[in-house]
Symmetry: C2
Subunit: 211 residues, 2 copies
């Protein structure tokens, strides 16, 4: 399996899921600026929109979009128990994947990271996100994970919350979220993913500076 | 089953799915402005964020987020064949649900509909969406539906494309999408949903005007 990612992007959730599963995969780094892969070829030839993550399965199919990629990994490695069995909890996992993708990732962080957007658009997105963070915090109070055990929804939330470091989002305002983030950071799959992607991110920044 | 919706919102996809399944459900209208239900009670008591759609299942559980609600309906009424069996096609359906939700719904239309956002933010969103529409159009060329047959992903795309009427999005620029939209509009479940929700939307607008 080939997995296309950019360091510290939302694709880090897929890396976490793969490490949880003890799966071997070929990690293909996509430069978010140039859309080039390490071998100099263009990622746009793989996926025209250039978004990560994407997976090239062993059968040769390309799977894109975080929620689908994460559920594919959970399905592909059932022994890792990365998603609940079909039923209410599975539905709830799909609900959280969708919520993180739309309300937090696209509705907030994607806007904050967009250099071309005006400051008032970002301020408005931050203001709107208050109720979203409070809602997730309320769900996670007295819970270790989104569901009864760790699932790919937690991997996705961690990857997204990790962006608070580079944005004005102040996690400390929601102590439940700050605790959740700190706790998950110590999880072996996550601390390894974070360490590796931080190093790759630093190298990417150095490359951009040199260019 | 109770389904919470607002006329012509993305919740129309759930109505289409329910009509496809020939299911009976109690449709509870949420005024998008006041967040009040028809009986005068507040929808915020049901779902603190006030977003539609949401489903109250026969077992009393609340399910939110379009992708989860649609997959729940497909699961609940298996005879309607609203989603492929687990495997590659199911993954592809999840991919399209996620794509529509993040790239088209949140990444474009949610910004266009937000009255507080500046014009240049909307212009930039429209510009970015060009490649997204082209990507969907490329997939749908020579295909009747997203997958080998009608699925909840089509219900969602139709509900989102329907917003072109109220925005500067010009579907005719992607003839494949204009054809798809026109074709699906004739589908009995969709023409019925559209007719009913148009009437409810007109009544909602009249109420707002009178208030």
């Amino acid at each position: 399996m080939d997995i296309y990612f950019s360091p510290l992007a939302c694709s880090m959730a897929s890396r976490i899921a793969l490490y949880e599963a003890g799966a071997t995969a070929c990690f293909r780094e996509v430069d978010p600026k140039t859309k080039l892969l390490e071998d100099g070829s263009s990622y746009l030839e793989v996926y025209a929109l250039g978004l990560v993550p994407a997976i090239r399965t062993e059968q040769g199919d390309l799977i894109t979009e975080n929620a689908a990629v994460l559920q594919y990994i959970a399905e592909r490695y059932p022994d890792a128990d990365l998603q609940p069995v079909p039923g209410l909890e599975r539905t709830q996992m799909q609900q959280w994947l969708c919520f993180i993708g739309t309300e937090l990732h696209k509705g907030l962080f994607a806007l904050l990271f967009d250099r071309k957007l005006p400051a008032d658009t970002k301020a408005q997105a931050l203001q709107k996100a208050e109720s979203r963070f409070a809602y997730v915090a309320e769900h996670l109070a007295f819970r270790e994970f989104f569901l009864s055990r760790f699932s790919v929804a937690d991997a996705y939330l961690f990857a997204v919350l990790n962006w608070h470091i580079a944005t004005p989002v102040d996690l400390k305002r929601w102590p439940v979220l700050a605790d959740y983030y700190a706790r998950l950071k110590e999880r072996p799959s996550i601390s390894r993913a974070l360490r590796e992607e931080h190093a790759l991110y630093a190298a990417e920044q150095a490359r951009h500076k040199a260019a």
